[in-house]
């Protein structure tokens, strides 16, 4: 197994220079806010994801946590990809990322949908690390639900 398939430059970059890190309060007083805290019990990684929405668009996605390069880089990519997106749109990206991570390395990612998220294709081949990559995405899903905006499509195509 080649280590550089796992630790792609993009991942290390997001890890060393995370985007949008730090929990932020909503600037719009009528915005809906949802927050979720997830832990990976096997390694103690933790993340808190907070979403701010006007009911349609995720106006902000902020997060804080500690963990390995994969979990932290993945949160940074999540912020990059989903902030400013409409809920339906975000659901498509979310689903594509989860599918990629559950694909045991057999899924070819679509860069148009996943952007920097494609760098995580290699992670899917390391079952022990898939949870790390998904941590912030699962927390995001719960946070969005708490803000009243679901991101998991009711019926899977």
């Amino acid at each position: 197994m080649q280590l550089d398939q796992l630790y792609q430059e993009i991942i290390l970059d997001h890890y060393k220079h995370p985007h949008g890190r730090g929990l932020r309060d909503a600037t719009d007083p009528v915005a809906r806010v949802g927050e979720a805290h997830h832990v990976n019990p096997t390694c103690g990684d933790e993340i808190t994801v907070r979403v701010t929405t006007d009911g349609k668009v995720f106006t902000d996605i902020s997060y804080d946590g500690m963990g390995c390069s994969i979990s932290q880089a993945s949160a940074s990519v999540l912020h990059e990809l989903l902030r400013g997106r409409a809920a339906d749109d975000a659901a498509v990206v979310h689903e594509a990322f989860v599918e990629l991570m559950s694909g045991r390395g057999q899924v070819t990612p679509d860069e148009d949908v996943l952007g920097d998220g494609v760098a995580f294709a290699g992670v899917a081949r390391y079952p022990a690390r898939v949870k790390c990559a998904l941590l912030s995405w699962m927390a995001f899903k719960d946070a969005a639900t708490r803000a009243g905006v679901g991101v998991s499509p009711e019926v899977k195509a």
Binding site: M1, Q2, L3, L6, Y7, L12, T42, C43, G44, D45, E46, M66, G67, C68, S69, I70, S71, Q72, Y126, R129, C132
Partner: protein, 434 residues
């Protein structure tokens, strides 16, 4: 090579028991394999140890030649299986210097052994006629420490919840030693049981128990030592340690998974109520009530892990043939070597004692702020198997302000070359994450 003469009358270099590590390694088939294109460097024996051919053969041979249930048949196979199972009990009793074979109770692992004692306390607390040493309730206290494995925390938390007793604990010092300064306030007339790890699975600390034992005796409490990490690595003598119970687990001492031991003082086990009910643990059963067998059978309900027990007997034979003092010394030398070698790695911080005294061959550390998962992953790509995470001892991580650590742990087959491979691997980690 220069050599310095040690004055006669002083301990000489060769006084120390030694063995040929290469020959020992040849007994372990798995040590031949490669991982990710590199020779296997297994530094995770605190998690589980490997098994020598001598143990694997006994396991296979038991099923191939002597398979039958124990203690319930007159036929030849049943007799052979029973003899092998009870023979293993005798070997284990001798290994820990138990005064009686009947003091060795087979369990699934250490976790089950600790739970067995904790549930015996609850069961006793429901019966007014039970031995008062096992009766526990509001106002009574259970004492553990901050350096316990979750297996020696959660069962006591649950017992405290069920009975209204209070759980208290020894803190840990900055050097990763047990802080005994509050001993007299912590262990008092209210204390029913002190349950303490003998060797920490995360810090490597080997706790000196004599002051605690003395205090436990003064206040009339009971003492359980979690020897999961010590019995595999150093000579154990339950009489000398003067504990009331010890627990250990077969898979960490060259034995198979699925078998562990609760040792208890005979008189105490005899006073302890049963926990699991079923076949083999009874004296007589009527539809209305049952009476129970004497220990150890009282605590071994149902068909036990027979082949696993027999193989654990073989593991004990194997360890004895090499010699526990020699194994202990080998690991002491490795630990000294490793602590020195790790001290050369920039940014590396050891959690736990940083001298090879009062500690075993299990070393937890942080490498700068690289997350242990990432350390472990890069090391794995080089064939080096370490454990990363909280090691089922989250309170220790919290104590040292980290979510996880990287841990290298040694055993009788570990070599200094493997420690060199670890250090070289850590250099690689620094390259990837700097």
């Amino acid at each position: 090579m220069t050599s310095i003469a040690i004055p006669s009358g002083m301990p000489q270099y060769d006084d120390v028991p030694r063995y040929d590590v290469a020959r020992v390694r040849a007994d372990f088939p798995i040590l031949d394999r490669e991982v990710n294109g590199h020779p296997l460097v297994y530094l995770d024996s605190a998690n589980t140890s490997h098994k020598p051919r001598q143990v694997l053969d006994v396991l296979a041979e038991h099923y191939a030649r002597h398979n039958a249930n124990v203690s319930r048949s007159v036929h030849t196979l049943g007799t052979e299986a029973t003899e092998a199972y009870e023979g293993a009990r005798a070997k284990i009793a001798a290994f820990i210097n138990a005064p009686s074979v009947d003091e060795v109770v087979f369990t699934k692992n250490s976790t089950e052994a600790i739970n067995l004692v904790a549930y015996a306390f609850s069961n006793a607390s429901l019966r007014p006629d039970a031995d008062p040493r096992f009766r526990i309730g509001p106002g009574d206290e259970i004492v553990i420490s901050e350096m316990e494995h979750h297996s020696n925390i959660v069962p006591w938390q649950l017992l405290a919840e069920r009975t209204g007793a209070t759980l208290r604990w020894f803190p840990v010092t900055d050097h990763g030693r047990l802080d005994e300064s509050g001993l007299d306030d912590l262990v008092t007339e209210r204390t029913k049981i002190v349950s303490l790890v003998h060797m920490s699975n995360i810090l490597g600390t080997v706790n000196a128990t004599s002051r605690i034992t003395q205090r436990v005796r003064e206040v009339g409490a009971l003492l359980l030592l979690d020897c999961s990490q010590s019995v595999p690595h150093l000579p154990m003598d339950v009489v000398d340690y003067d504990a009331d119970f010890i627990v250990f687990t077969g898979h960490k001492m060259c034995g198979p998974t699925g078998i562990g031991v609760l040792w208890g003082r005979g008189e105490l086990l005899a006073a302890m109520p049963p926990v699991f009910g079923g076949g083999s643990m009874i004296e007589t059963v009527t539809m209305a009530r049952s009476t129970f067998a004497a220990p150890p059978a009282r605590f071994e309900a149902g068909t036990p892990p027979i082949a696993e027990a027999v193989a654990l007997g073989a593991a004990v034979d194997y360890l004895t043939s090499i010699g526990m003092p020699a194994i202990q010394w080998h690991e002491k030398e490795l630990t000294a070597y490793a602590l020195d070698a790790l001290a050369t790695v920039p940014g590396l911080r050891v959690f736990g004692p940083n001298v090879p005294v009062g500690r075993g061959g299990t070393i937890s550390f942080a490498l700068g702020d690289v997350h242990p998962h990432d350390v472990g992953q890069v090391l794995d790509s080089l064939g080096v198997q370490v454990r990363v995470g909280h090691h089922c001892a989250k309170p220790v991580c919290t104590r040292f302000g980290v979510p996880a650590t990287t841990r290298a742990s040694f055993y009788l087959y570990t070599t200094t070359e493997e420690i060199d491979a670890l250090v070289a691997g850590l250099e690689q980690v620094r390259k990837v994450f700097d």
